[in-house]
Subunit: 202 residues, 2 copies
């Protein structure tokens, strides 16, 4: 049993790795943004949160003191960002976007992804991404307990192979071999075991 | 391309399935609670969010109008809950906890899980769970944009096979064959492809 005292006494990096990886697998996503003065940014995140479907709203968690600062600044400046799923074969390139590059350096260029654009949308997409989603910032919520930020955006459009969508709306992301991750450095493949029917008391 | 107008025009259940499943895989967890008048509750969730490691804080998203109402009420009453990971072989039992049972019926009993307790902790754990985590509620944040709730709790203790923890703190949840899920009904296995070193500009 790891009790509260043991958790408190762990060396800081050990505790971060433990608590972060223990939270389990999540979809790996690349967030594309562009500052008002024209610098593109691309950064890997794993904190995508489903907030609601009507309207379609998703959240992201930002820790203010981290490497991801350019992403947050660009979103606050432009209210726009893109969510790009990662093909499993691109996991090493995606991980490299977590390095601390200067604002004037585009992670698209140095990490080997291709910037592309949709009409009437300022933020850049990842051409290699099997799913590309345009997002508009809707609400920024400051989490007072530890200074993190929950940023909520609405889905503007979705660009994907629509044959991945089942007749009932289910998206078979595993068929597109999209990357999952845990913690800050562990990358996973996922396999669909089963879909079950709506559960009723029995 | 699925644009905003198409999203708006989808039938409500289709849109819910699409947006929910598109958000990708997440760890499947069973939340154990017990009301002050002694009724146990167990419910499957997939909205576990890493908020921070120091102190160790995790969040959950609640939609007030859903089946999970007993869970939220019990947490607000007692400030305690447990997070229990699910062995992949138990996915059907875990899914059954999403059925709308009356408050007086324990999902532990009807879905085939065994209730167990740790000293000095009111909320019930799942004996079958490969990872059992005791949580204390810390903060409730109302998300005004759609009426959902972000509930943040702190980790009180962790009960797991500690041989799953690497020397650097990484928890190999895949070795414990823990269940992942997407949307409301799709269950996944996960496989670790690789862990990478901390990325630096190159």
């Amino acid at each position: 049993m790891i009790d509260k005292q043991a958790l408190n006494e762990y060396e800081s990096r050990y505790r971060t790795t433990l608590i972060n990886s223990l939270a389990g697998v999540k979809q790996a996503i690349l967030i594309g943004t562009k500052s008002t003065d024209g610098y593109s940014n691309l950064a890997i995140f794993n904190s995508l949160i489903h907030i609601g479907a009507n309207p379609p709203l998703w959240g992201l968690i930002f820790r203010p003191a981290t490497v991801k600062r350019d992403t947050l600044n660009n979103i606050l400046e432009t209210q726009q960002y893109t969510i790009n799923y990662v093909a499993t074969r691109d996991y090493q390139k995606a991980h490299q976007t977590s390095a601390k590059y200067k604002k004037t350096i585009s992670e698209f260029d140095v990490c080997g992804f291709t910037e592309c654009y949709h009409p009437h949308f300022h933020a850049p997409f990842v051409a290699e991404a099997p799913v590309k989603i345009a997002m508009k910032m809707e609400q920024k919520i400051d989490i007072s307990i530890n200074g993190t930020i929950l940023l909520i955006g609405s889905i503007q459009h979705i660009d994907m192979d629509e044959t991945l969508i089942s007749p009932d709306g289910f998206v078979a992301l595993d068929k597109a071999q999209t990357l999952a991750c845990a913690g800050l450095d562990a990358y996973y493949e996922t396999y669909l075991m089963d879909r079950l029917v709506y559960a009723k008391p029995r």
